[in-house]
């Protein structure tokens, strides 16, 4: 699946997107990313799966696109 990072999160991850497989849900994804990128633990962000915001753990398929987005600051 494709993982997209935006705003200040790109500074933490170092890239704007990653391709990951074998991760079954968004909780597992967050655990994996926080282990790889410890600074992510103190970052505030929202998660969208296929462009829809989620607020609870969500199952993931290989074809999904997950976005991690810090608070918006447009305008």
């Amino acid at each position: 699946m494709k993982i997209l990072f935006f705003g200040s999160l790109t500074d933490i991850i170092g890239v704007a997107d990653l391709c990951l497989n074998g991760i079954t849900d968004t909780d597992a994804l967050q655990q994996f990313l926080k282990a790889q990128y410890p600074m992510l633990s103190s970052a505030k962000y929202f998660i969208a799966v296929n462009q829809k915001m989620i607020s609870a753990n969500t199952p993931l398929k290989t074809s999904d696109t997950v976005a991690l987005m810090p608070p918006f600051s447009g305008g």
Binding site: F6, G7, A67, M69, P71, F72, S73, G74
Partner: protein
Amino acid sequence: MSEKKIRNIFYQGPIPADKIAADLQQHASNTDIGAHSIFIGQVRADQKETDSVAAIEYTAYPEMALEKMAEIRADLFIRYPLTCMHVHHSLGRVNIGEICLFVFVSSKHRKAAMDACEAMVEAIKKELPIWGKEICSNDAEYWKQNK
């Protein structure tokens, strides 16, 4: 006009001041309109720790932003009797004093245009996945935070 249709709002670089006059002129032929309400956002030279802001660099999640924008727009057309509504938001670098946001709402009477324009600006800041990075003249960078 209330259908949910995806339209682009993104403009590469600063929005030229001329565009505002040209867009206004284009609406002259629609004689049902009695009021335009316009919001223009300009990049401000905020003072930071060591220097002041020289520019803001905007990035977005365009697919999601445009989808969300279509929802917000459709909702405002239901809530207010509007004739039309146009939104332009910059991507990339916009220097201080340049225009980064242009919201243009038209209706028969003033109240609908004014209220919908304000609601749209608030929604853009709160709900669209867009991020601004403030860049100082000494190259220091700060991710912008909306108040």
